[in-house]
């Protein structure tokens, strides 16, 4: 590794992440202005490795929607979609995107191209309903890449098992059906060597992503899984399969290893190490994070980093000698892991709590997302029954500020930290 200094390296991930994000959006805006159609995809199984080889601009509507909330204009988009007929009780991401489409792709960060095709997994059912909206609006092909998930907790199957092979053949067949469709949409012949190269870059990113997550076991932690982690996720999704994406994460590993080796943590005076379960509160994103960091809490890990990276954190690397089979296998294993992090997360959280030496778990179910939120209360109950670890359960939303009450959140969070402090005090008394 090259000799590096704090001046050049610390904070580079966030700066470069923001730069890449701007460049990505500039590219999308150019594509929109040129009238090129985009490939609309989602974070849990984007298939960017494959789509990139067809030179299609890749659009992540989830990321666009959350950006409207971070930039505090989501309510304008939500209102517009509700005026169009959508219920206040459905996914806020969907509604922000509907309004984006009604506005000709205009977003605070730039303009997105119209879809030429949508490719999405079933990791979230709303992906399918969402894509149906584009199908109706634009009459474009929409393709569900159906990835069967884990059937019951702890019953994952692996290559060689007949049930796994049944699933793998299904995913592979769908990929083989998708490729000719992409050729027609993009007007470009499929090039398996380009796919190999893209998968090679994805492998590099995957290795680095896994390492970045591991490095946060350091004390103090080297990044905040909630705030910094969201920037990393943006790059992990938007640049998957690209040279820039792989390089970014390799450099991020370098930064985090440097910080770990030199005992450099986040800006928080780390007193409590926490896990975040759910989706962030984007309408007050910075403030939401501060409600924890001001009291010495830093998020060392989150389920979000696992599922919103499409299961990349599991570290599956493609076999470039047999790209299509391996892509199918990788999609199956990784997307399944993303789903497991939402549905069957009890054991994972227990392991995470152990390996990251955490002091508490924060559950944040949200109105907008039933995929992530439906099982959280029961998960918390089950987890508490197995391990004595403090937890906080707070509800708000990822998009809709009408259901976000900062004062109520603060009261609950303050009380949680008082409990953490009291617990630590009691432990200290016990140990003396």
């Amino acid at each position: 590794m090259a000799q590096t200094t704090a001046d050049g390296i610390v904070g580079r991930g966030n700066t470069d992440g923001a730069r890449l994000f701007r460049e990505w959006f500039a590219g999308l805006t150019r594509a929109a202005e040129e009238g090129r159609g985009g490939a609309y995809v989602f974070v849990m199984g984007s298939l960017a490795e494959l789509l990139r080889t067809f030179d299609l601009p890749i659009v992540f509507p989830e990321i666009n929607s959350l950006q409207t909330a971070v930039r505090r204009v989501a309510h304008e988009y939500l209102n517009e979609a509700e005026d169009f007929g959508y219920s206040p009780d459905i996914c806020g991401y969907v509604k922000a995107d509907v309004a984006t489409q009604l506005r000709g792709g205009e977003l605070p960060m730039g303009r997105i191209p119209q879809p030429a095709i949508a490719v999405y997994t079933n990791a979230c059912n709303t992906y399918i309903k969402w894509a149906e909206i584009w199908e109706r609006m634009y009459d474009v092909p929409i393709v569900t890449l159906d990835v069967p998930g884990t059937r019951a907790a702890g019953t994952q199957t692996w290559p060689g098992d007949p049930d796994f092979e049944n699933d793998r053949r299904y995913v592979q067949a769908q990929l083989e059906e998708l490729i000719p469709l992409l050729e027609r949409v993009a007007g470009i012949a499929f090039d398996i060597d380009r796919l190999r190269e893209s998968m090679h870059q994805a492998n590099a990113m995957t290795r680095a992503w896994k390492r970045v997550l591991e490095l946060n076991r350091s004390r103090p932690s080297v990044f905040n899984a909630l705030s910094d982690g969201t920037i990393f996720l943006g790059v992990a999704n938007g640049f998957r399969g690209s040279v820039e994406g792989a390089r970014y994460f390799e450099e991020l590993v370098e930064e985090m290893e440097y910080k770990s080796a030199h005992g450099i943590g986040t800006l928080t005076d780390e007193r409590y190490r926490l896990i975040f379960v759910g989706v962030p509160c984007y309408p007050i994103f910075r403030r939401f994070s501060e409600l924890f960091t001001e009291l010495g809490g830093t998020f060392v890990s989150s389920t979000y980093l696992h599922f919103a990276s499409g299961g990349t954190s599991l570290g599956f690397e493609y076999d470039l000698e047999r790209p299509i089979e391996s892509l199918a296998e990788g999609m199956l294993i990784s997307v399944r892991d993303a789903m497991d992090n939402m549905f069957f997360q009890t054991d994972m959280l227990l392991e995470m709590a152990e390996t990251y030496a955490v002091d508490g778990i924060v559950y944040h179910p949200i109105k907008s997302c039933r995929t992530v939120s439906t099982g959280l209360a029961d998960n918390r109950r089950a987890l508490m029954a197995r391990r004595d670890i403090p937890s906080l359960f707070i509800e708000s939303d990822m998009m809709d500020r009408r259901v976000v009450s900062e004062a109520q959140l603060k009261n609950r969070i303050d009380a949680f930290f008082e409990g953490l402090a009291a617990r630590r005090q009691q432990a200290a008394i016990r140990d003396t």
Binding site: F84, G85, Y86, S87, D89, I90, C91, V94, N122, C124, N125, T126, I128, K129, A131, E132, I133, R136, I142, V143, T144, L145, D146, P148, G149, T150, R151, A152, A153, T155, P162, D163, N166, D167, R169, Y170, A173, Q174, E177, M342, F343, F344, T346, P365, K367, C369, R370, T371, S373, T374, G375, L376, A377, D378, N379, R381, A382, E395
Partner: protein
């Protein structure tokens, strides 16, 4: 077979009774939160396979001699289940769990499906609370893949192994063929009931028809076949006269069910000539071939000869076009387009449905419901106004 198929009927009350009494008993059974038929089945030593909405290949459970029990919420307060869920959820998810937490229903296996984001969570929630197999049946969501049938056949085989192990009864192809025969008969009888609804809706009210269909999820299908076989000719022979009511299609009952009183209220203003209520029981539209490969035949029928719902994307079945077709085939003048509160797919589909109905100039009434709602007056007044507007247009 391992089930108590030779045991006394679990729903004997209606036998030998006049038609109105039979219908009364069906309605009573439907609203009985002690689930007496399932209890009697268990008391006879029977096993129960609970399956959440919408569609489940019940033949596979039946072939193990088990009772396939349709988990579709219920008329109960989710006092225990509430603490297992967050705030923003449909009612059916909560009351379904309540049925088992409160021991009203006991199961050997619970199966849910990836029909929506809430329902797919149920296997995990259920599995953290009960020791028996609780799992997701991954019905294919790429219905247009040429490989979907082959995949689904494999998935059904996995389910066959799960149920056989849980019930202790091997599921043979012969047993499956027998079960397919029972369910083919049931589907034919339900088609006949719906033909009657379409052609002579004055002979069977909306709530009567609904009760007759819904009890099928609570009793062995052989008993349901016997019931329908007795009732259908009596309905057809009724002397009721046609009234001046508009003919409507009711849409939005594919998962959570509106309360019986709501269906009755709608039936007071309109003839409900077709609907998607409990569509899973009527999902397969034709007889399933009970040939060489019964699991393959079930898989093929699920994909190739089936109805539609907001929770299945199939390029061959655009939902709004299917709704318009349902309206046309039923000779309906209008549609009632509902969605259960907090039901993401239902609420999203409402937008597409109403836009298509607008485009076609079909009048429609839009509403939301909840399975445990008790006040219908406001809705009934709105509906009457809607009906009058059509009648006096």
């Amino acid at each position: 077979m391992g089930g108590p198929l030779t045991a006394p009927p679990v729903f004997p009350q209606w036998r030998g009774e006049p038609l109105d009494e039979v219908l009364y008993h069906c309605r009573e059974l439907l609203e009985d939160d002690t689930y007496p038929t399932v209890r009697r089945w268990r008391e006879s030593g029977g096993k129960v396979i609970g399956h959440f909405q919408v569609y489940f290949p019940e033949e596979i459970a039946h072939a193990a001699g088990a009772l396939p029990f349709k988990v579709r919420g219920g008329p109960v307060e989710p006092t225990q289940a509430d603490s297992r869920f967050g705030s923003y959820l449909c009612s059916i998810v909560k009351t379904s769990l309540e049925l088992v937490l409160s021991n009203r229903i006991e199961l050997e296996v619970f199966v849910t499906h990836p029909i929506c984001d809430a329902a797919r969570n149920l296997a995990a929630v259920w599995g953290r609370n009960f020791d028996y197999p609780c799992q997701i049946l991954y019905l294919p969501q790429n219905a247009n893949s040429a490989h979907a049938i082959t995949y689904l056949r494999g998935e059904y085989d996995r389910l066959r192994r799960t149920i056989a192990e849980a019930t202790g009864t091997p599921i043979t192809d012969d047993a499956l063929r027998g079960s397919i025969g029972v369910f083919n008969e049931n589907r034919a009888l339900l088609r006949e009931l719906y033909r009657l609804k379409r052609e002579s809706p004055w002979l069977v009210s909306a709530d009567e028809a609904y009760a007759l269909v819904a009890v099928g999820g609570l009793i062995p299908r052989e008993e349901h076949n016997t019931l329908l076989g007795v009732v259908l000719p009596q309905l057809a022979a009724r002397s009721a006269k046609r009234q001046d009511r508009i003919r409507v299609v009711y849409e939005g009952g594919f998962c959570e069910q509106p309360p019986l009183d709501l269906i009755r209220a709608i039936g007071r203003s309109c003839y409900v000539v077709d609907d998607d209520l409990l569509i899973g029981l009527r999902w397969i539209l034709e007889d399933v071939a009970a040939g060489e490969d019964p699991l393959g035949s079930l898989a093929e029928s699920y994909l190739e000869r089936s109805s539609y719902s907001p929770v299945q994307h199939d390029l061959r079945k655009p939902k709004e076009r299917m709704l318009l077709e349902r309206i046309r085939q039923a000779g309906a003048q209008a549609a009632i387009v509902t969605a259960a509160k907090m039901c993401e797919p239902g609420l999203e589909e409402q937008v597409a449905y109403t836009r298509a109905l607008d485009d076609e100039g079909v009048p429609y009434f839009v509403s939301e419901f909840e399975e445990n709602m008790t006040s219908f007056e406001h809705l009934e007044i709105q509906l009457e106004t809607f009906v009058e507007n059509i009648l006096f247009e």
